[in-house]
Amino acid sequence: MSDVTQDFLGALRDNRFDFFAGVPCSLLKTLIAAFDRDPSWGYVSAVREDSACGLAVGAWMGGKRPALFMQNSGFGVSVNALASLSRMYECPALMVISWRGEGGDDGVPVASTSKVGFVDAAEHLQMGEITPRLLDLLEIPWRLLDPHHAAAQVAELTKVMERTSRPVALLVRKGIFDGGGH
């Protein structure tokens, strides 16, 4: 397990997160692998990301502090659940969202998928481009995860989450959790 993964998991425990659910992404694979190795995390492998949002709302009402894990594609799936469930009912959660397709197609039409030089697979480009703006539109406080200050960011966002009673998000770029160390 890489140090970043270990630090991040430690930060979740230090900030008393105690309910975990999500749908995996290759960018988050070391985190999900750690959950799967140790059943004491109680990680729920959800069938859809909006279902994971529902699980988090139920868990929060049951006294838990939930953290959710998903790809930005799944964040797209969850838009209505976040707006008219999590936000509307003021049920907080820490969302860890991987950022596939960061930067979008960089001006290259998405239709011309035969061209080389895309930042990511074609299906991630549109969503990758709009992910930060979509977080802003939903008024979800978010930070770009800095691997050198992950624990401090989790602690700070947890405070924001408590103060605002709404979901908060950490956006995870490629290479932070999936690179090296294992």
Partner: protein, 190 residues
């Protein structure tokens, strides 16, 4: 069998302390009208997610009974969640589907629940117990099934076939969404 009567019968046997998650649409307004309790959580919007919320609540509070009052449109929309519930095996989760084969809140457009057996889907996913009460079975059969629903360990699934149609002038939930979630959290963690 009217939907509101079916909801009333199930709630009667659920017990006063049960944490009840009610799906969006007319079902929530009917349960509110039957009689609100601080242990009721009514969904407004987010169709399909009542069962996910109930599962999260059941996992967070394993010693408390959690009842999900769902509809056929909701169950179909969150069909994968039946598998999530069956695999998570929460002994304290009781799932009721009031099935009128229609989207009752938007004008009774048909759903596809008349063409498949949702209780059999739940059974094959792995619910510990499933049962089905047909619409012409009568109030007594539903009472028996509701009693049985709560007589063993979950997850358990009861499909109650009910008539289409809404109650004219039915009330609306008079609490705000943050009030509803806060009072559920207060009672669930008591």
């Amino acid at each position: 069998m009217k939907r509101m009567d079916a909801a009333r019968a199930v709630l009667k046997h659920a017990g006063e302390d049960a944490l009840v998650v009610v799906c969006n649409g007319m079902i929530g307004r009917e349960v509110w009208t039957i009689g609100d309790r601080p242990t009721h959580f009514y969904m407004i919007g987010s169709m399909g997610l009542a069962s996910s919320i109930a599962l999260g609540l059941a996992l967070a509070q394993p010693s408390k009974r959690v009842v999900c009052v769902d509809g056929d449109g909701n169950v179909l929309m969150g069909l994968g969640v039946l598998a999530s519930i069956a695999v998570a095996k929460p002994k304290n989760l009781f799932h009721v589907c009031l099935d009128n084969e229609a989207h009752g809140s938007t004008g009774d457009q048909r759903t596809i629940s008349g063409s498949l057996h949702l209780d059999e889907v739940a059974r094959s996913c792995g619910y510990a117990w499933t049962n089905r009460v047909d619409g012409d079975a009568g109030a007594e059969a539903l009472e028996v099934a509701a009693k049985e629903l709560f007589a063993g360990e979950g997850p358990r699934f009861l499909l109650a076939k009910v008539e289409k149609g809404n109650v004219p002038g039915i009330g609306r939930v008079e609490l705000t969404p943050p009030q509803l979630s806060a009072r559920m959290r207060a009672h669930a963690t008591r």
